[in-house]
């Protein structure tokens, strides 16, 4: 349901799909570690890689923007070379942070590190810059070790996989809730009319009810791609709960539920969404996870927020289309990408 479901690709192989069929969506909430509303699992591998990606971005930005300063820091000489190093770092950083298959990008970092180590060793030979070059050398050596570790581990874990997927990732269980000042019945009724869903689920284009239990979903992927899938309702208790799972191999296999719990003392409804999906699978699907699904938790949170806004106020607050003075590039980009209103 919530938008992320549209991104994680999966369901290419039969075995994965059947993994979903075994799950009763209503029972998802019982999954360990799920209650807190956070990502139940996050691979440590993932955070190391991401850390290295961001490190590349920062170093790259510094080397491109202030090459002389980085030269001075590291005891190196040529600002031009420094700019090239910066460009290389930025490329590697973007690669690591956005691509599904990380191994080549991490290996590119290892190669880059080797170059840096060589350059710094030469600088160490020069008089006057030894101190800084030695410190820089030690730092690069440390980073090289991490890069090597990450790259080999990834390559190792990749062996034996059928599809070049995101390494080491397992199924993702999410839960998120929001308090809405409307009755459980009202919330349920709005949600149950599936054609309402695109009003608050940002990446949904349309949902069409096929029959009593099945619906056809169309979502906008990144770069004008589209994802479509069919879902089936697995539980439907008016005013209380709705649960579903996907039926076909769409690259968006998921199962989930939304529960409408009466809040105490007439304070409306706690709307609780549980979602289970697997980001493994086809290159495209995994790529989508990388591009959009880094923070599926916050995507669900934002969709739920919009649900609340529509329910309580009949509209979603916006500033799109309001006047402003000249925007800087940063301002235009953040607003264009919908990062900020």
């Amino acid at each position: 349901m919530a938008t992320d479901v549209t991104q994680p690709g999966s369901g290419r192989s039969r075995s994965q799909h059947s993994a979903f069929s075994g799950i009763e969506p209503g029972g998802l909430g019982a999954h360990a570690g799920f209650r807190g509303g956070g990502l139940a699992r996050r691979d440590t591998a993932d955070s190391l890689e991401r850390g290295l990606g961001w490190f590349s971005m920062c170093l790259g930005a510094a080397a491109v923007a202030a090459p002389r300063w980085v030269c001075w820091l590291s005891g190196l000489r040529s600002p031009t070379v420094m700019r090239l190093v910066g460009t290389r770092e930025l490329t590697a950083g973007i690669g690591i942070l956005t691509q599904s298959d990380l191994a080549p990008w991490l290996w590119s970092r290892v190669v880059g590190d080797t170059f840096d180590l060589a350059a710094l060793s030469i600088a160490l030979g020069r008089r006057g810059r030894r101190g800084r070059a030695a410190v820089a050398l030690a730092a690069v050596a440390g980073v090289t070790a991490l890069d090597l570790f990450a790259a080999t581990r990834l390559t190792g874990s990749r062996a034996g996989r059928t599809a070049p997927g995101v390494s080491g990732r397992t199924d993702i269980y999410l839960e998120r809730s929001i308090a809405v000042s409307k009755s459980p019945e009202e919330c349920y009724r709005f949600w149950r009319s599936f054609e309402n869903l695109p009003r608050f689920m940002q990446t949904l284009e349309s949902v069409q009810q096929l029959d009593e239990r099945r619906a056809r979903w169309v979502a906008k992927g990144p770069m004008a791609t589209r994802l479509e899938w069919t879902s089936e309702i697995t539980a439907d208790r008016p005013g209380e709960e709705l649960a579903w799972r996907t039926l076909d191999d769409s690259g968006a296999a998921n199962a989930g539920s939304v529960r409408f719990e009466a809040a105490p003392a007439g304070r409306g409804t706690i709307v609780r969404v549980s979602l289970h999906y697997s980001p493994r699978g086809g290159a495209l699907g995994a790529g989508l996870v990388r591009l959009l699904g880094h923070d599926p938790q916050s995507r669900i949170r934002e969709d739920l927020r919009r649900f609340k806004q529509v329910m309580e106020t009949g509209e979603i607050p916006t500033t799109r289309g309001q006047p402003s003075g000249r925007r800087s590039l940063f301002g235009r980009v953040t607003r264009q990408w919908g990062l900020m209103s």
Partner: protein, 409 residues
Amino acid sequence: MKANVWYGKEQLKVESVPDPKILNPRDAIVRITSTAICGSDLHIYDGYIPGMLPGDILGHEFMGEVVEVGPEVRNLKIGDRVVNPFPIACGACFFCQQSLHSLCENSNPNAWLAEKLWGHSPAGLFGYSHLLGGFAGGQAQYARIPFADVGPIKVPEDLSDEQVLFLSDVFPTGYMAAEQCNIRPGDTVAVWGCGPVGLFAIKSARLLGAERVIAIDRFPARLRKASQWADAETLNYEQVDVREALEVMTGGRGPDACIDAVGMEGHAHGAFGTYDKLKQALWLESDRPPALRQALMACRNGGTVSIPGVYGGFVDKIPFGAVVNKALTVRSGQTHVQRYLRPLLELIEKGSIDPGFVVTHRLALEEAPRAYRMFRDKEDSCIKVVLQPWADVPTVEPEKVHETGRILH
């Protein structure tokens, strides 16, 4: 239309931008007739409010005439004269239902950003950073008002713009600050800062029955306003030791309630002043809180410290031990303006207060950059500037109003 646009610290430009349009069914568009500069705008001007983007239109204290309404706005019609509250509130959420409008859950499109900084997001505000929604402000010729069926209040024609304009912010803000003090007969209230917010807090404390009000600032013109207009006793903190003076004035017990109407750009001499400036410059502290520290220390045991002054992030060396060991009540918040509009309009209509007294300068909107500088630096005894969006520059000379102040109490 013309609008006052922010391009960076101390960089403002009045320029042509597109006219606002209705974007949501509950929007309205007003043609602005008067708009003011607030002490909160100075925090933006001085570059202390995070989440600003070059190109943002400033301003949150404005009034005008409705020129367009969305299909869901049924209580307003074209031609209505309205004053607009600075927080944007839906009227239907958990907080709006309790009249805590500045905490509206549904008006900040960037709620997630504010959540990162504060844990939860308050309401969206006009012209007050993308952290608080990124809504275009009202130092312009027109503004779009979201949830126009909840916010703006219609005002009678026989009251002048300046009599009702400050319902948009500073009058309710001063009033709420005083109301939070839970004033009882015989109480002494000390107020740090005699800008518009402080002055309205002082006046409101009087209206709410405070026995004595002590006004603290360093600008003689402002202190004079406080004593002439609201009958306050005054302390110039450059001339007296404030703590000492308050002890003497209250029999060693301290004021029953203390109001910090200074906020994050508090001024201080001496070591602490330098300390805060340095830390703020090094980004080790986002706000400078000398007035807050003093208020917490000065307040009597079991008293209330009410903080209308705006703080944005992190402050340092706050004597929190005083809060615990003296059993203080600390209250704060962006003002829930919507809930004060009607009762305060009634006070104005009854003649209990004439909010126009704070105005010292009227300028054309075009002069906004100069007006900000003047207001920030307290040049020419500036206390409050009203900008006129439709005036031509040469015809509006900086005009002094209410020079002597008017004592209505």
